[in-house]
């Protein structure tokens, strides 16, 4: 703003000073290099796009059809990696099961909590900014190594959860983290604990719903439950759709908590072997770069199929105003 205001008074002086004959040439000089300017501004991104995204994507496709251990040259083996993944890799199957279980359980729970708390906060209570900030904090901190460390203690055999259970009910709880039956649930719990950011998005969505729709509905005798199913939920479907896609893709890519809790192994007995953790092990523990590239492409295809199906089905259940 300041810059413009100081600039404007100089316009008349300048105009009178510049000879009229100069104008067309100036204009041509300005329009001609415009395309060049565009590409100059775009240069860093273009370098990054070709050097770090497009090139590596092609390279990764090629590597996925090779045997490559970083030491000797890549060795072309065609579709062999993919065939082995599909037919003879029990760890792939395990990591798929773990990941899909994690996604299928954590995303709906997280979104459910997010929506529930957002609706409570949308009742027009005082101190909304305070509560909103409190619920958002875990979401901001949750991806840290420090929180994963904390989780390891909390759900350990003599951790906080069992200490609270002992103090309140006198029950000795199990060793959640080291039991293969419960380890994954602690990670689901960690994810649900971070419902803050989808909650903020839901809250913004709820604000968009005009109040008079509810007034009309309650005049017509619609109960609160009916108002939720017939007004809130349908009008919120675009936000649910958005949150669902973002959180699902994010859950597919989860890595840090499983890595820290299992000390990088995916244990106990592969019960927390997230797909990304398996990929990391193949690439950076065993240096099977070709195989890991093939695993990465399978993840891309899964995410692409999920996104495409979501978009295709969205016109049957997502309501847009226009």
């Amino acid at each position: 703003m300041v810059a413009i205001r100081t600039m404007q008074p100089s316009i008349p002086e300048r105009r009178s000073a510049v000879p009229v004959a100069d104008k067309p040439s100036m204009r041509r000089r300005r329009t001609l290099p415009r395309s060049v300017h565009g590409y100059l501004f775009l240069l860093p991104w273009l370098l990054g796009f070709f050097g770090l995204t497009f090139g590596p994507t092609l390279a990764s496709l090629y590597l996925s059809m090779t045997n490559y251990d970083l030491l000797s040259d890549p060795q072309w083996i065609g579709m062999e990696n993919y065939v082995r993944i599909a037919t003879a890799d029990p760890k792939f199957v395990t990591s798929m099961k773990v990941t899909f279980f994690y996604v299928a359980l954590s995303v709906p729970l997280k979104l459910g909590f997010a929506l529930g708390v957002a609706m409570l906060l949308n009742k027009g209570i005082r101190g909304l900014p305070f509560y909103r900030a409190m619920f958002y904090l875990p979401s901001l901190l949750g991806a840290s190594v420090a929180i994963a460390v904390l989780w390891r203690q909390i759900f350990g055999a003599d951790g906080l959860v069992n200490a609270v259970a002992m103090a309140l009910f006198g029950i000795q709880g199990p060793a959640w983290i080291s039991d293969p039956d419960t380890a994954l649930y602690t990670l689901v719990f960690l994810s649900v604990w971070q419902f803050g950011s989808p909650m903020i998005i839901f809250l913004a969505g709820l604000r968009q719903i005009p109040q008079d729709v509810y007034e009309a509905a309650s005049l017509d005798g619609a109960s609160k439950a009916r108002q939720f199913w017939k007004i809130t939920l349908p009008l919120l479907t675009p936000v649910i759709f958005f949150n669902g896609i973002v959180q699902t893709i994010d859950a597919f890519k989860a890595f840090t908590p499983a890595f820290i809790i299992s000390e990088g192994t995916g244990g106990p007995i592969d019960s927390t072997l997230f797909y990304t953790l398996y990929l990391y092990q193949e690439a950076f523990a065993y240096f099977r770069m070709g195989y890991a590239a093939a695993l990465a492409w399978i993840l891309v295809v899964i995410i692409a199929i999920f996104t495409a199906v979501s978009f295709m089905t969205s016109r049957y259940w997502v309501h847009y105003d226009d």
């Binding site: 703003m1 413009i4 300005r30 415009r34 300017h37 565009g38 501004f41 775009l42 240069l43 860093p44 991104w45 990054g48 796009f49 770090l52 995204t53 994507t57 590597l63 409570l120 906060l121 009742k123 027009g124 209570i125 909304l128 900014p129 509560y131 909103r132 900030a133 409190m134 904090l137 979401s139 901001l140 901190l141 840290s144 190594v145 420090a146 929180i147 460390v149 904390l150 390891r152 003599d158 906080l160 604990w193 971070q194 950011s197 809250l203 913004a204 604000r207 109040q211 958005f242 890595f259 820290i260 990929l279 990391y280 770069m289 990465a296 993840l299 891309v300 995410i303 692409a304 996104t307």
Partner: protein
């Protein structure tokens, strides 16, 4: 935002249902929300309290008030590995600050091109840029690693920082494009009349008017880089190059089961910068999420 809240509050007060009933209901909400907040934050407060406790009092003690206040765990933790946490802090800070500078510069340049300049192929590149948002980083991870290995960049901060100067976080380009589009074009045109070229319009008109969006990008970049575990794990091997997150992980592996106090103390310190950012820029963070739908 606050207007909406206050109008809601007034609305609830004016409700003809009767004041006592609406007061009772609002009290119920407050009780539920307070209880939920306490449950949510309890693990964090407990960790904070435990970091001040002597080791033998941590286990089996669910209280969040330390009976003794001792800084022993911090001293033990700070020098718990052969390299002090001070080094890790410095490394993390350098990476985060350079990432912020790189991201803000490169992303705002690209965003200005997309939002304001007319050039051949603009829509094509814009669509490609949006496409990269969808691509999981796992695909490019391995070739990028091989590339950086061949450049001899592994075990330096370059693989973590240089991509930011090449606008690799396309999300922020998108955020800034949206913001730039909201700035009235008349301002550019006025500046152009005045003889400003695109560079001066970018620098003197668009950037000064975009401080909120640039600040949002800067704050999120700082927090995400500070928190990042995966990229440092892949690229930094030498303990003297470790970030705080890697140092913490090294700590888990070496003393994790024996010295929880020190581990908690360092965890608290690792979270501290993010918490400070949360206190300072809470509104910016929450608005950033509400308007752009960032994932955290």
């Amino acid at each position: 935002m606050t207007d909406a809240v206050s109008s809601h509050v007034e609305h609830a007060d004016e409700a003809p249902v009767g004041e006592t009933r609406s007061k009772a209901r609002s009290l119920t909400y407050h009780v539920i929300l307070c209880a939920a907040s306490i449950v949510m934050l309890y693990p964090l407060l407990w960790m904070l309290a435990s970091s001040f406790r002597p080791e033998n009092e941590i286990f089996g003690n669910p209280s969040i008030w330390p009976s003794v206040f001792s800084l022993d765990a911090y001293v033990r933790g700070w020098n718990g590995l052969q390299v002090s946490f001070g080094t890790f802090y410095w490394n993390s800070l350098v990476i985060a600050v350079l990432s912020v500078i790189g991201n803000v510069m490169a992303c705002s340049l690209a965003a200005f091109a997309f939002a304001r300049l007319h050039f051949w192929g603009r829509n094509f590149w814009f669509a490609l840029m949006l496409g990269t948002l969808m691509l999981p980083y796992h695909v490019t991870l391995i070739p990028q690693y091989i590339l950086f290995l061949n450049l001899d960049w592994v075990n330096t901060i370059l693989p973590l920082v240089v991509p930011k100067f090449l606008a690799s976080d396309a999300f922020f380009i998108f955020l800034l494009v949206q913001f730039f589009r909201g700035i009235p074009r008349e301002l550019d045109e006025a500046a152009m009349m005045d003889g400003c070229g695109p560079w001066r319009i970018y620098w003197k008109v668009i950037l000064p008017l975009s401080v909120p969006a640039l600040a949002t990008a800067a704050v999120f970049t700082f927090i995400w880089t500070w928190d990042d575990f995966f990229a440092p794990l892949v690229y930094l091997n030498d303990i003297s190059n470790y970030t705080v997150q890697l140092g913490l992980r090294g700590f888990v592996d070496s003393t994790g089961k024996s010295d929880w106090g020190a581990l908690f103390a360092m965890s608290v310190l690792a979270l501290l910068p993010i918490f400070i950012f949360f206190l300072l820029f809470q509104k910016l963070l929450i608005q950033g999420i509400a308007t752009t739908g960032m994932k955290r």
